[in-house]
């Protein structure tokens, strides 16, 4: 009974401890990250990649990252429910603090006031970031949110519609090698660009949205590639790989009002802000309408939805087309602002980036899409100016990937999830139903 056992050696005890093993894994992960983001080796000094990235002070940052990740994981394991409760309460705070509709209205007005006033005190660089990196991507994220968040469709070729918007801008203003039917001022070409993107959405969506889940993702991925390749190769129409220049800035001459958007970023910022506000209001109404509820129904249970009289295909195409037009609008504005388009702007990577913005913010949630896009687009720019741990732009996707992985572990619903989505994911975790229309129904339906 009371035999004295030899003490287990320390190393073995450590190895047996899950915590210690996990710590080792996290730190190792941090080190891998350091090597991957560090300098590359060369033929003459093949190991310089390692020594260069592990031998200087930046490695400390990555080790700290590993330890922090480990602390988070351990804390989550010990105090998971408490942490979840706190984070839920935090993300619900705005709603609870602003119960009254009028108070909320004032809050939004104040936010809008800040959005209008604050940029004026920024320098030119940040004003430009606000348009090119944040405004445009907020708009893109809002559009993709309709497709992915509302209708539950995985679209991996979303940037194609942005390209269509941008090339429409070039076409109608006469910047392309092909001549338009009639020349239009860029501003008045907006509806046509939006329409073109929407049509593309319908044409792509109508036949493919019958497919379920992964097939749709593959088809949209292919479509994105096709658009990029066509833009690259159809020299006579798109200007080929060099792209086209000379897309004029917006201007209006209307009922005595004359205004030209020039080289400055601010006017474009306000234009975008206007679009974003309109889109936000429209999508808010949409979400809480018959159409929005039909999307939820489809997402939750397609068989039940169609048996309840919902034309599933029609609503999917609708979501696709609305997302596409928003994307087209963003492309149009950006093309006119920077004055040129080139196929290199429309890579699959960007489609993925926008998807990450939506997932990070919280699928199906308007504040989520806005905040997700704003934060994730702001951070790299900030880090570019104030490099931390030797942040380099080309490592961006690595960090985004890491953020996504961490998010999926700790908060799969995103930072500001919609209440419905959160419930769905909660139910899916407990094996009730699926969170998406993405999975296929097989076997007998009963």
């Amino acid at each position: 009974m009371s035999t004295v056992r030899a003490p287990t050696p320390l190393l073995r005890r450590l190895w047996l401890s899950t915590d210690a093993r996990r710590l080792a894994a996290c730190v190792a992960g941090g080190l891998v990250l350091a090597v991957m983001t560090g300098p590359e080796g060369s033929g003459t000094a093949p190991t310089s990649g390692f020594t260069g990235s592990l031998g200087n002070s930046r490695v400390i940052g990555f080790v700290v990252f590993g330890v922090v990740l480990w602390l988070l994981m351990t804390a989550r394991q010990r105090y998971g429910t408490e942490i979840r409760a706190v984070s839920d309460r935090l993300s619900a705070a705005p709603r609870r603090l602003l119960p009254d509709k009028r108070v909320r209205g004032v809050f939004y007005l104040v936010l809008l006031g800040i959005a209008i006033g604050y940029p004026t005190v920024l320098n030119g660089f940040w004003q430009e970031v606000l348009v090119d990196q944040i405004g445009v991507y907020v708009l893109l994220a809002l559009g993709l949110n309709v497709v992915v968040g509302y209708a539950g469709l995985l679209d991996l070729g979303y940037i194609a519609f942005y390209a269509i918007g941008a090339y429409s801008a070039a076409y109608w203003t006469g910047a392309l090698p092909v001549h338009p039917l009639f020349h239009l001022n860029a501003f008045y070409a907006i509806p046509l660009a939006v329409l073109a993107a929407m049509l593309a959405g319908v044409i792509l969506g109508a036949p493919t949205l019958r497919l379920r889940g992964d097939y749709l993702a593959i088809v949209t991925l292919g479509f994105g590639e096709i658009i990029e390749i066509v833009a690259n190769n159809l020299q006579g129409v798109t200007g080929g790989a060099q792209g086209v220049i000379g897309i004029p800035h917006f201007s209006i001459h209307f009922l005595g009002v004359v205004y030209h958007w020039g080289l400055g970023s601010l006017p474009y910022y306000y234009l975008l802000l206007g679009f974003i506000v309109v889109v936000l209001i429209a999508f808010h109404f949409l979400e809480n309408s018959r159409v929005g509820r039909a999307w939820v129904a489809i997402r939750e249970d397609e068989v039940a939805a169609e048996s309840s009289g919902i034309n599933v295909l029609k609503y999917k195409v609708m979501a696709f087309a609305i997302g596409a037009s928003t994307s087209g609008l963003a492309g149009m504005v950006e093309a006119s602002k920077i004055g040129f388009v080139e196929p290199g702007d429309f890579t699959v990577q960007l489609s993925i980036l926008i998807l990450v913005l939506v997932i990070f913010g919280g699928m199906g949630s308007l504040p989520g899409a806005v905040i997700g896009a704003a934060v994730l687009q702001f951070l790299p720019q900030y880090l570019r100016v104030h490099p931390l741990f030797g942040f380099q732009q080309q490592d961006l996707y690595l960090y985004l990937g890491a953020i996504l992985v961490v998010m999926m572990i700790f908060r799969p619903v995103g930072v500001f999830p919609s209440r419905r989505r959160k419930r769905e994911l909660g139910l899916a975790e407990h094996g009730v139903g699926s969170a998406d229309a993405m999975e296929s129904t097989t076997g007998p339906i009963s």
Partner: protein
């Protein structure tokens, strides 16, 4: 088919449908007619093809052979399944293939259903579940929704009122704001009926509505189905394993076995029918088939 005393006014006619899954024939040459206003029960052992029949009636499955025709209350006939000539290409003869409507089209025509394992929109409230059913009959499109046009708001109020009224009707008014997945079994069943009624059907298909409910809930359910039939004038086609419930509710019964109709008629007749007794006694688990109190066990994969 037993001739009814009243003049024939069918609401749905199923004519010789055959449904195959690869080598498996789950319905073979099934015909039946339901009269308007009638409560018709479909019974049969597990795997007899009852749910498959419902799936054919609602456009979920398309039988390879046969016709299904729905005659709505306004004298319009809708072919749910029927042969449709297809052009086979140059040189070939155009051949005839069965063509079926999609589930949402069938629903629009006036047939609503519930599922054997309830399929609610689980993350939504009871109220929203019903409202989705009601709204499938409205017209607000994306533009109207985004602009919140007066008509949109009007439809919204109207569907709110209808949904509340239906929740009241099935006795779930207090549960309106509960999340569907949190409801007890019996309530889920009734909620599914409310959602189906929201689409203003003329024919309601109920797939084992009493499965898994306790005796008190079962009584409620019988009353509810009666009410649906009497007050709303909805014809009811009912699959049920609970013989007690079938005998009290059904005007007529159709018995399926191995995908074939083996008997039909008024309850008293069917009960005496030797083929029916044989089918049930020959069933792998007669206990199950005759069970009138406990929940009917489902086959695998339900």
């Amino acid at each position: 088919m037993v001739p009814t005393a009243t003049a024939s006014d069918p609401i749905v006619q199923v004519e010789a449908i055959t449904l195959r899954f690869g080598g498996l024939t789950s319905l073979s040459d099934v015909s039946l007619t339901q009269q308007r206003g009638e409560i018709l029960a479909v019974i049969g052992p597990n795997g007899a093809g009852k749910t498959s029949l419902f799936n054919c009636l609602t456009g979920v499955y398309h039988p390879q052979e046969g016709n299904i025709t729905f005659h709505d209350d306004h004298g319009k006939s809708v072919e749910i399944v029927g042969p449709k000539p297809r052009f086979a290409g140059l040189g070939g003869k155009s051949h005839v293939r069965n063509h079926g409507r999609k589930p949402h089209q069938v629903n629009r025509a006036g047939i609503a259903r519930t599922f054997q394992t309830s399929r609610l929109f689980n993350a939504l409230t009871a109220f929203e579940n019903v409202k989705i059913g009601v709204e499938s009959r409205m017209h607000t499109g994306p533009i109207g929704a985004m602009l919140r046009l007066p008509r949109t708001r009007h439809e919204d109020r109207e569907s709110d009122a209808r949904a509340s009224e239906l929740l009241e009707f099935v006795g779930l008014r207090e549960r309106a704001n509960d999340i569907a997945s949190s409801l007890p079994y019996g309530d889920r069943r009734r909620l599914e009926i409310a959602r189906a009624l929201g689409t203003s059907p003329q024919l309601l298909l109920l797939d084992e509505p009493a499965a898994g409910t306790n005796p008190a809930e079962k009584n409620e359910l019988v009353r509810l189905i009666r009410k649906v039939n009497d007050e709303r004038g909805v014809s009811v086609l009912l699959i049920e394993h609970d013989m007690g419930l079938v005998m009290t509710l059904a005007d007529r019964i159709v018995v399926l076995n191995f995908g074939q109709v083996i008997a039909s008629g008024v309850p008293a007749e069917v009960q005496q029918n030797p083929a029916v007794i044989e089918a049930y006694l020959g069933a792998p688990d007669p206990e199950d088939a005759y069970d009138t109190s406990g929940p009917a066990e489902d086959g695998p994969e339900k």
